[in-house]
Point group: C2
Chain length 529, copies 2
């Protein structure tokens, strides 16, 4: 009994939570209950219309079936139901007249007609473009069969058809009246909010990616949910972009309903451009794919050494936060339905990206290792800086980090390959840094994390790259790995720049939307300095 | 009239095509029609059971509603309908007894109970985890209202409930019998085929990406469908990975049905691990995201110059085709339900990736430009090659391409910035190559392509990077652009290597699936040399 009480408590607390997070659900349930009660009332009270009350089932059925969460869905289903009923009714009456002339073959004719109509309607509804009308076809088949069968039994084809239609109209009337009249829930508004929400999710993911990358956050074990692209609520970075990428089907469904809705609220326009919202969301998704790839750099086992990332620290962070700011601003504009205004929204992020690009230009030697070059090595010592202004804090920090990393390397007493001395005497500055991330990936599994044996072999390939059969890293192979690790930083940087480039496309589709949907001019431009 | 004939021709040719491409649709339609005819037959023939025939609508309704394309969907809907009807029937009978005691308040009590039941059931069905049972709740509400209303009218609650239940059972019996008995269509098989198809799609995309990249295929205008991530059938490369990425919701739906299906055909096992198929597909999707990012490198405006790509030509192509081969092989194994066998399926692609990695190691100077380096430039002339064996064809080709590109540059008479001479005299080998792709992106729009004015501003940012207000490229900015273009090749390479790394995860989930689903051992290993 105690467990039973507990279950009840559980269920009611969950129900309460759902109600709090989205009160529309409570309102909708109440509306549905009200419509049902009204229909029942009607049936009770009218004693003279006994006949109608006998077919009350049709009115109830219609209310139950047509009453959908959003107005668009209700209208679309109602339309389907109406059209299906009417056309099937017409066809059935015609067939009934015809079958009466058939004399003793009447029954056979009716069954044959049911077979043929059933076949054709079912086949038609399987055609891909007919998908939105699937319900209409179902109603069509149902009505046709019902009128034929029950009309044959009573011999009153027309009476059956008319009563049925009247009651369906009654049910639809009550259903639509209650659903639209009392606190209507619009699919279009949901679509609008979903698109705005996607902007925020991707902005969060972008910032998270850049920050995690700079703080060298590593996944000790990449959660298997990410590796198999399943929904996960643990990781806001992952769930942010996943939700945006996955919302395609939801958007399509909402779009399908929204186009049924009459002008309302803030969307006072016939043929409101709902499609453009979906387009903006698609352009946003195109940006999200680069964020996804950025996240891939964090997930990867091949990691650039922290000290190299520090070199580009300020620039990367600036691009990341400027990019996120643009996304948030656009998201807010979508939400508030404002136009862009005079100010170039991309100015800041372009500036930041150029800054990053210039930095890369100056320090691209960090992105590669030079020992293997066939055309000869870099000169041993850093030459005099060409622009002394640029020998800034970062550079100093870089040297500092480097030596730290070398210290770490010494402490761990990696077996020294034969050619180690040569390499050191060659005076290359940072060729061993790349190794740091590899042992940390191998050894630093905290005991709290249960080993996920499905993915235990994940690291085997890179291990294979580095260790030969006798377990000692060979010169050539460890170098190979190092170089990959430095390239990873190059990848991150160039993906970030690609992200910035894709923003233009997003802004363009937003502008198209804001024109078509006649967004209002921004009241005051908050950006004007 | 002629246009009408044409429309009929059109429709029938489309119907014919659909039937040819998936004959199951024809069979399904015929099954549906057969079930309807059978139900009609039953109602006609039994004269003594007039009563049953009066409620024939329930049997017809059940057939129409329960008859779904796949067996899993049919069973799940049938279960929902059965459970909803039974529980609502029980509750309604109980309430009816109760309301009879209420005397003159009976009607009010009935309506109040309808309100409460309607509210609670509607609210419960909105709970996210209740989604699969949405239909069950609908039936519950419908049945409850119907029994209360029509029972009150006739005073025969039990009779109404029992008749209704009998007819629903009859309809469900005929529906299930026909649907399962004659050429059943299994959701599980669809899921299985979908997963296998995704492998092929991504293999095609991967090969396409690598080949297009090496052949320097450029999109003159990126189709707006790609920029807004909409379905497009023009570009097999794009549609290959998009279909795989977008199939999540389809997979989830099929999974929801497949778990309802009894063991059948090749899936002779209770609790068949359908979930593992979805997991494998998820792991595949995780790989697909790198293919997506690779495609992003082709879509990008910042392009590495062709002659630099040629340097890595053989290695990139080898990794691409080995990767696609692995995907195809895994796809076939999934399709044929075979285990992996002794041979390491990843051996070849790992070899190829290592090869690529070594090449990158040797020639990573190609991936960056050195002029801006603060630590000084590379030595002017290529030093004597450290390993003369490696001064191979590629290298020769590279030099050849370089001079070609310089010739092109001279012909086009780009305005020479002030510091041009200095740069040339500095003897850097390939610093102008990067510019080639920029003018081609600007000028080579074939006249056949209608300008898409939504995206006309796409190139504005990079144009801004290169040209100052007076229209001449400045030294610093054009260099910035060059460097980005070289980094793009680094990105492509490292994404490809990341793709290879992710294959391990895919193979692991495949092995998990092949264990759980008890795939057969491969009959003969075609890989044994």
């Amino acid at each position: 009994f105690v467990s039973w009480v507990r279950t009840v408590q559980d269920v009611s607390s969950k129900a309460w939570e759902m109600g709090m997070s989205d009160p529309r659900k409570i309102i909708f349930s109440a509306k549905m209950a009200l419509a049902l009660s009204l229909i029942s009332l009607l049936i009770y009270l009218r004693e003279p219309f006994k006949d109608l009350s006998r077919y009350s089932i049709w009115a109830i059925l219609t209310v139950v079936v047509v009453f959908e969460f959003s107005i668009g869905a209700t209208l679309s289903k109602g339309f389907n139901r109406g059209l299906g009923t009417l056309s099937a009714g017409g066809l059935a009456l015609g067939m009934a007249e015809l079958s009466k002339c058939a004399g003793e073959w009447e029954e056979a004719l009716i069954i044959a007609s049911i077979f043929i109509v059933g076949f054709l309607a079912t086949y038609a509804k399987l055609y891909p473009t007919m998908k939105p009308y699937e319900y209409g076809f179902r109603v069509f088949i149902l009505t046709y069969c019902f009128i034929m069968v029950s009309g044959y039994r009573t011999g009153e084809f027309i009476h059956t058809a008319v009563t049925r239609f009247l009651l369906i109209a009654l049910g639809a009337g009550v259903g639509l009246g209650v659903n639209i009249g009392i606190y209507p829930i619009w699919a279009g508004e949901d679509l609008h909010n979903l698109v705005a929400k996607n902007f925020m999710g991707i902005a969060t993911s972008l910032e998270g990616c850049v920050n995690n990358y700079l703080n060298c956050v590593e996944y000790v074990r990449v959660p298997s949910k990410i590796l198999t692209y399943q929904a996960s609520s643990d990781d806001p970075l992952y769930s942010g972009y996943r939700a945006a990428v996955e919302s395609t089907s939801q958007e399509d469904a909402l779009l399908g309903f929204a186009i049924w809705e009459p002008p309302h609220g803030r969307y006072k326009m016939f043929n409101y451009p709902w499609k453009s919202y979906v387009k903006v969301s698609g352009a946003l998704r195109h940006c999200a794919f680069t964020v996804m790839a950025l996240h891939g750099c964090i997930l990867s086992e091949i990691q650039a050494p922290p000290e190299r990332r520090q070199v580009f620290h300020n620039e990367l962070r600036r691009v990341g936060s400027a990019g996120a700011k643009v996304l948030r601003e656009l998201g807010n504009k979508v939400k508030k339905m404002e136009k862009l205004g005079q100010f170039d929204i991309l100015y800041e992020v372009h500036e930041a990206a150029e800054e990053l690009q210039k930095k890369v230009d100056k320090k691209s030697y960090i992105l590669v290792n030079s020992e293997g070059w066939e055309i000869g090595n870099r000169p041993d010592e850093p030459g005099p800086p060409q622009e002394s202004l640029n020998m800034d804090d970062d550079e100093a920090k870089y040297h500092e980090y480097k030596s730290l990393s070398e210290a770490v390397l010494d402490l761990r007493s990696v077996p020294v390959p034969k050619s180690w001395d040569e390499k050191v005497s060659m005076g290359t500055n940072f060729n061993h840094d790349g190794m740091k991330s590899f042992p940390s990936g191998m050894n630093s599994t905290p005991s709290g994390v249960p080993p996920d044996n499905l993915f235990k072999k994940n690291i085997s390939w890179h291990a294979g790259l580095i260790f030969t059969a006798n377990g000692e890293p060979t010169h050539e192979e460890s170098k190979t790995y190092e170089n990959a690790s430095a390239l990873s930083l190059a990848t991150f940087t160039s993906l970030l720049i690609e992200f910035v480039a894709r923003l233009q496309n997003l802004v363009d589709s937003f502008e198209e939307l804001s024109e078509k949907a006649k967004f209002k001019e921004p009241v005051e431009s908050p950006e004007t300095v």
